[in-house]
């Protein structure tokens, strides 16, 4: 063959796709550049930063372990209780909201949207902000912390629960409804068995995150180890701060181990 055909051209993406992708890249770069230009950072502080961080770390050494039994242990346990009770409360609260948000369980659109809105709002407000709110209402202490954790987690658990419900197989549900079973039976025998493994997985996952979150709630007065951290920080007792951080680290690792073990054995 000697006819000279033009070289074929190959493009990975269509014209429209390329344009869109380019637009997104451009937007990202723009966002970064704009942020860099307008963010208020004092250059001297930036240059100083590594030195300051090292200075801080040296002041934390050696860790004041003697402080642990008296100042830290009870607060640490309180943190775990806050996380656990808060998660449990969230599970209880999330079930009805999750049910209402699932469009196969509850077919009325306005209620679905309302439930989804509740879930989104619960997620968007940070646990610290919830803690502030509840400290204002109930006074400082672990009660505020527990409620903060609970209300923050409802959104998370409820959304995942709603999604799990929406993805469950229709077959068994239809079969059960066809037998004339009341709706609570359809729920417990039709949906629950399908959703159960996902539910416990979500619960474990959220508990793990909540242990981390509970540790800081004390900073605004909502109980737990955060309060010990707050006072140590205000008094610049860095070795105690270090011990508290170490305790938090240890409890977080412990929680992760517990979750991994429970996951393997029960799920």
């Amino acid at each position: 063959m000697t006819e000279a055909l033009p070289s074929p051209v190959w493009r990975r993406f269509s014209g429209a796709q390329r344009l869109t992708r380019f637009a997104v890249y451009l937007a990202m770069v723009l966002a970064i550049v704009l942020s860099l230009r307008t963010v208020e950072i004092i250059p001297e502080f930036l240059a100083d930063a590594p030195e300051q961080v090292v200075d801080l770390l040296t002041r934390m050494w050696p860790l004041d372990f003697a402080y642990y039994p008296r100042g830290v242990h009870d607060a640490l346990m309180e943190t775990v209780h806050i996380a656990s009770l808060g998660t449990l409360l969230a599970l209880v609260l999330a079930v009805p909201v999750g049910l209402l948000a699932a469009n196969n369980v509850c077919p009325w659109l306005p209620i679905n949207l309302a439930a989804k809105l509740v879930l989104v709002s619960s997620r968007s407000v940070n646990s610290l902000v919830w803690a502030l709110l509840f400290v204002g209402i109930f006074g400082p202490g672990a009660l505020a912390g527990t409620l903060a954790i609970a209300f923050r987690s409802v959104g998370f658990v409820g959304k995942l629960l709603g999604e799990a419900l929406e993805e469950s197989a229709r077959g068994p549900i239809e079969a059960l409804s066809a037998t004339g079973a009341p709706w609570i039976s359809v729920l417990s025998f039709g949906y629950w068995p399908q959703v159960k493994p996902a539910f416990w997985s979500i619960a474990l996952f959220r508990w793990d995150i909540n242990v981390r979150e509970s540790a800081v709630l004390g900073l605004v007065g909502a109980g737990g180890i955060g309060m010990a951290l707050d006072s140590a920080l205000n008094l610049f007792q860095w070795t105690r701060v270090a011990v508290i951080l170490f305790a938090i680290f240890a409890i977080v690792i412990l929680a992760e181990i517990v979750v991994t073990v429970v996951r393997k054995r029960l799920l």
Partner: protein
């Protein structure tokens, strides 16, 4: 009728299931007692709560310039910490992948990731505030560390799940190392990576609204100050703005995922939204 059914569900369960429920109930009672939760406190709390919410509505947007300034700073913190964080998390995640890297490389990298994740971003923010002073810098550094910890771990896990056969084939063509990563590893994890990046951006946006409470810049500082001054109607306005901002962020994240994972373009982007489920769904990202 309903209690009978619930009873049947419970009694049908194996013995250790029932023991588990009892244990749980016992724990709740014990923990609640430890925490000094009494009926009077809850009761007085309800009373306060009503009072509280009364003062929060209607939300007061009159000081909107301060509000916008705070939101903008939070946005800046979120954007910069995500960019920096992902930039570091990609190579660190790659280095911690045990199926691609030798142990003496992967273990230090994994340790770094674990350390970065263990502390709540707020705690890290406090430390940075003490180290580099109040302001956005502390917030950016804190959330960068958090990003490396979370996104780095997700990246590493995704890489550890790839099929090495595809990598082997690319290696057999004599491709250089970077092409090996680019053609053998990245296509397998790209979709998940985009998901992780949008997740991290979303997470940083949420956290950036909060680190201000400890002085690390952003709307959190404004919020805290309003709280302390009992300006609850202003607090309500700030909370509403935060929720709206985060919801916008989630919509953008869904759009980015659609563009890079499903190959959508401007033409198909909105058609896709409406076709999903036939009814208009709130496009919400994963938490």
């Amino acid at each position: 009728m309903s209690s009978g059914n619930v009873g049947r569900v419970l009694s049908g369960a194996p013995a250790w299931h029932r023991a588990g429920w009892l244990l749980l109930a016992a724990y709740v009672v014990y923990a609640a007692a430890q925490m000094d939760v009494s009926a009077e406190r809850v009761a007085s709390g309800w009373h306060n709560a009503a009072h509280f919410f009364g003062r929060m509505f209607p939300p007061n947007f009159s000081r909107w310039e301060l509000l916008v300034k705070g939101l903008r700073e939070s946005l800046e913190i979120a954007v910069l910490s995500s960019a920096l964080g992902i930039l570091f998390a990609l190579p660190i995640g790659l280095l911690s992948a045990r199926n691609l890297m030798p142990a003496w490389v992967s273990w230090p990298a994994r340790l770094l990731v674990v350390l970065a994740r263990s502390f709540h971003p707020v705690i890290v923010a406090i430390l940075f505030v003490k180290a580099v002073g109040f302001g956005a810098l502390a917030g950016i550094l804190a959330l960068t560390v958090a990003s490396v910890g979370f996104a780095g771990k997700l990246f590493a896990e995704a890489i550890e799940e790839i099929s090495l056969k595809q990598v082997e084939a690319i290696r057999a063509t004599g491709a250089p190392f970077m092409s090996l990563i680019g053609f053998g590893v990245l296509p397998q994890v790209f979709a998940r990576f985009i998901g992780f990046c949008t997740y991290q951006l979303d997470s940083n946006l949420r956290n950036s609204t909060m680190v201000g409470i400890v002085g690390a810049g952003g709307i959190g500082g404004t919020l805290f100050a309003a709280f302390q001054r009992f300006d609850y109607d202003y607090v309500c306005a700030i909370l509403i703005s935060i929720i709206v901002l985060i919801m916008i962020g989630e919509v953008l994240a869904t759009g980015i995922r659609a563009i890079f994972i499903d190959g959508a373009s401007f033409a198909t982007l909105f058609r896709r939204e409406r076709r999903a489920g036939g009814q208009l769904r709130l496009a919400v990202a994963d938490d």
